[in-house]
């Protein structure tokens, strides 16, 4: 357990009981965490304590068996033979560095070594949900494989087809071996492949959410590979852990970006991203009475080749380009026309990111007290090469007698490097029986980056200005910005926290209160007007305070569990140039998360019911559109007959209608609804 922080631990049994099959199911179970389920697997938006964003770097770090997962697009993986999930609340910058701004999610896979085991599981449910899993533990090896299929939950009425079908599989091989008395190794190879639909977004019009209805393809394909290797050395004087990983992500997203039946514009985003991480942790073997140090070095290198062409179709050329342009061109000059049926705005990026860090934490136990001081020096650099191009034909009717070709190329490089110092101070007191009391001051940061998604807007702007310049015409009041404005800075936050935990017998309780002040908070914003992109920006300053609490009680066959998170997260100073949002709630993150569960286990029969509450959520910076607090109910019943477990699960039993995601495109508003009532029945057989 990290010093001065609260931890939510979810065991394999609890994961099963509460129907947690992927990270999004941790919603509310971990107090204060919000993982809205929308879009597709790449949209792993994570909000914690009021902070988070849907794009680019997350506000938490994800570790699978101590291997840091670098790409947020890989976060949403089905849980397959997971031994436990732990969430370390608050900034864990000193030990985990990059992106551990509001916490760390640590996932442990089931380790081999517990004897021979062969287990199979099959379930079927509404929306043609099928899930099949097989795990085999043999000696030093643990193999797992899983497959999931779903017809989808939301119909695209224009196509009369399901918008969000899913097909995906995962393989894992873990190999743990004691090489000698001093050396131990562990190897994890994991690969996931999915082909899915998604983006079930419906127009919000006159206060009514319209059905999903768009004409172009919405799909996502992803291949993720993680090869991790750990080596532990037990020396005479020191213990050393070496943790290295190779990671690879290849994905392709196709999106109807206007989400309407009209042929306006589409986006394809294709990434090929290999990465390498390396960490070495050193601890002395000698047990000092008043000093427990841990030191480490960490580094990673990541390359991302991204191709993100935007295709404007005839309706889009008219409504997004020509209508916009002709609003700015005086009639006396003429009327712009682009007779092309399609306009391809190609954007390619090569992005290199690297990071190096040195850290140390010292714990000083003094009687019932423990004092902790830590420091991490972290440096992250990034380099991007961009290359955008578009060719069209145009005519300024009234000034030109014929159509003329026009090409714009926009290429260049950007780079930045940012050092970050991440200190930590914590005090713990354990003088009361079964109780731990702590207070801490910690700092975390979320890496900066580049707004690749806004390049389409940049090029549209350049095309417009370029065509006019080609004619010798310069529009008044025209705004333009270049690649240099697409960089966003790291977000940094100080977290001040105090809390306690208590455990006695079957009862445990924990609560904490926190105050966070954030600098340069990263926010996804929609540029004003008819722009087609969205971009990450650094909000001036924000703060959040709140409370998280959890209680568990078990006696005999009864198990009860409750978790509650509350925050008041607001901008202290943030102006987007059009309005000042100081004092407004930070959007997208709920003020409350609430989870409560109760169950009873007889010898062979188990019944359990749970509820998740979320909200209210402000959907925009103005706080004019909000999602009220909503509750969903779930339940599970299971019976064990010998080696066979039969179960029935239901989620959103009251079929609560709530909105899971909001965004704006072309000045219009869209929502995705939360998943409706679902049931599934399954069988699990312990063959060996």
């Amino acid at each position: 357990m990290p010093a001065g922080a609260s931890v939510t631990a979810v065991s394999a049994r609890q994961l099963q009981q509460y129907g947690v099959n992927n990270p999004k199911d941790l919603q509310a179970l971990v107090p204060g965490i919000h993982l809205p389920d929308y879009g597709a697997s790449l949209t792993s938006s994570i909000y914690v304590r009021g902070f988070g964003s849907r794009m680019e770097n997350p506000v938490i770090g994800l570790y699978i068996d101590d291997f840091p997962i670098l790409d947020k697009n890989s976060y949403d993986l089905d849980y397959l033979d997971i031994a436990s999930v732990k969430f370390l609340h608050g900034p864990q910058g000193t030990a985990y560095g990059r992106n551990a701004l509001q916490g760390v999610l640590s996932v442990r896979t089931e380790a081999p070594g517990g004897g021979e085991r062969l287990r199979a599981q099959l379930e079927y449910g509404l929306a043609h949900h099928v899930r099949a899993q097989l795990s085999w533990h043999h000696g030093e090896h643990a193999f797992s494989m899983g497959y999931r299929h779903s017809r989808g939950w939301f119909k695209n009425e224009y196509k009369d087809a399901w918008a969000d079908p899913y097909n995906g599989g995962q393989l894992r091989w873990r190999w743990d071996r004691q090489l000698s008395e001093r050396w131990r190794m562990s190897n994890l190879l994991q690969a996931g492949l999915s082909a899915e639909g998604g983006f079930a977004y419906g127009l919000w019009e006159n206060g009514v959410r319209q059905p999903v209805s768009y004409n172009d393809e919405g799909s996502y394909r992803r291949l993720t590979v993680l090869e991790g290797f750990k080596l532990h050395y037990e020396g005479e004087k020191v213990r050393i852990d070496g943790i290295a990983s190779l990671q690879f992500l290849a994905d392709r997203m196709r999106m109807d970006q206007d989400y309407t039946p009209r042929s306006i514009f589409t986006l394809q985003q294709k990434q090929r991203s290999p990465a390498h991480t390396l960490e070495v942790i050193v601890r002395p073997r000698r047990q000092y009475k008043h000093w427990k140090p841990v030191s480490g070095v960490f580094a990673f290198f990541k390359y991302n080749r991204m191709e993100a062409p935007v295709l404007f179709k005839r309706d889009g050329i008219q409504s997004l380009i020509l209508d916009n342009a002709n609003r700015g061109i005086p009639e006396s000059i003429g009327t712009l026309d682009i007779p092309d049926n399609e306009l391809l705005v190609g954007s390619d990026f090569d992005i290199f990111t690297w990071n190096a860090a040195l850290y140390h934490e010292s714990h000083f136990p003094l009687g019932n007290w423990q004092f902790t001081a830590g420091l991490r020096v972290d440096y992250e650099g990034a380099f991007m090469r961009y290359n955008s191009t578009a060719t069209l034909h145009y005519q300024l009717i009234g000034m030109m007698s014929a159509v003329r070709p026009f090409t714009d190329r926009y290429s260049g490089t950007l780079s930045h490097g940012v050092p970050v110092i991440l200190p930590k101070l914590a005090v713990e007191y354990s003088g009361f029986p079964n109780t731990r009391i702590y207070t801490s001051a910690t700092k975390g940061y979320r890496a900066g980056g580049f707004n690749t998604q806004i390049f389409s807007d940049i090029l549209q702007n350049r095309l417009m200005n370029g065509m006019m310049a080609d004619l010798g015409v310069h529009l008044d009041g025209g705004t333009s910005f270049g690649a240099d404005r697409t960089e966003y800075q790291p977000e940094e936050a100080w977290n001040f926290e105090a809390g306690f935990s208590y455990r006695k017998g079957g009862f445990s309780a924990a609560a904490n209160a926190f105050y966070i002040t954030a600098l340069r908070q990263q926010l996804t914003v929609f540029p004003p007007g008819m722009s087609t992109g969205r971009m990450m920006t650094n909000a001036g300053k924000s703060r959040s305070y709140g409370v998280e609490a959890q209680v568990r009680y078990s006696k005999g066959g009864f198990v009860g569990h409750a978790a509650w998170g509350w925050n008041d997260a607001r901008f202290v100073s943030f102006s987007d140039g059009n309005a000042d949002y100081a004092g407004k709630r930070i959007p997208y993150s709920p003020a409350h998360t609430l989870f409560a569960a109760a169950g009873y286990n007889w010898s062979k029969v188990s019944l359990q019911a749970h509820m998740r509450g979320t909200g209210p959520i402000a959907w925009n910076e103005e706080n004019t559109l909000t999602e009220p607090f909503y509750v969903t109910l779930g339940a599970r019943a299971s019976v064990t007959i010998g080696r066979v477990l039969l179960y029935l699960e239901g989620e959103n039993l009251t079929n609560t209608r709530y909105r899971a995601f909001y965004f704006k495109s072309m000045g219009r508003e869209f929502f995705q609804l939360g998943k409706p009532l679902s049931f599934k029945a399954g069988i699990q057989i312990n063959i060996i």
């Binding site: 061109i329 006396s332 009234g398 006019m468 010798g472 015409v473």
Partner: protein, 150 residues
């Protein structure tokens, strides 16, 4: 009044540049001055307009490029236009004319909206001056040579 100033400046140009050193107009010389456009019985002054004069290699034609001019104050755009003219003269003093031709943009697109008529003018080293009709608008320019281009 504007025409009087224009004529005075022409006289001044001739007087002041008679014995100057040879000037290479083919590299494109830059002038800055005011463009006066007459409309609705009044006149509108475009201040600090940059105009370049580039003589062709054979010395028979020239391009006069007017950067970001506005014909009337209400016009929500500025226009950069290149006026193709026929040149007569030698040494440092040239006169030029054009009639019933289209100007074009710097990239060569004809600006059919702004047919020019009755263009006449003179360049004498340090001064450039001309008058013309831009469509229906009588327009004059008088400017002095810039040694550094901004």
């Amino acid at each position: 009044m504007k025409k009087f100033i224009y004529l005075l400046s022409l006289l001044g140009l001739v007087c002041c540049t008679k014995d100057s050193a040879p000037i290479d107009y083919s590299v494109g010389l830059h002038y800055k001055g005011s463009v006066w456009v007459e409309y609705n019985g009044g006149s509108y002054e475009n201040k600090d307009i940059e105009v370049s004069f580039t003589l062709s290699e054979d010395g028979k034609t020239a391009d006069i490029r007017m950067n970001r001019i506005r014909f009337v104050p209400q016009m929500p755009v500025t226009v950069t236009t290149v006026l193709p003219v026929t040149v007569v003269g030698s040494g440092n003093n040239y006169t030029f004319t054009a009639d019933n031709v289209y100007p074009h943009s710097p990239t060569g697109v004809e600006q059919q909206k702004y047919r020019i008529n009755k263009l006449s003018g003179m360049v004498t080293g340090n001064m450039l001056s001309f008058s013309l009709y831009f469509g229906d608008y009588p327009t004059t320019f008088t400017g002095s040579r810039q040694t550094t281009v901004q």
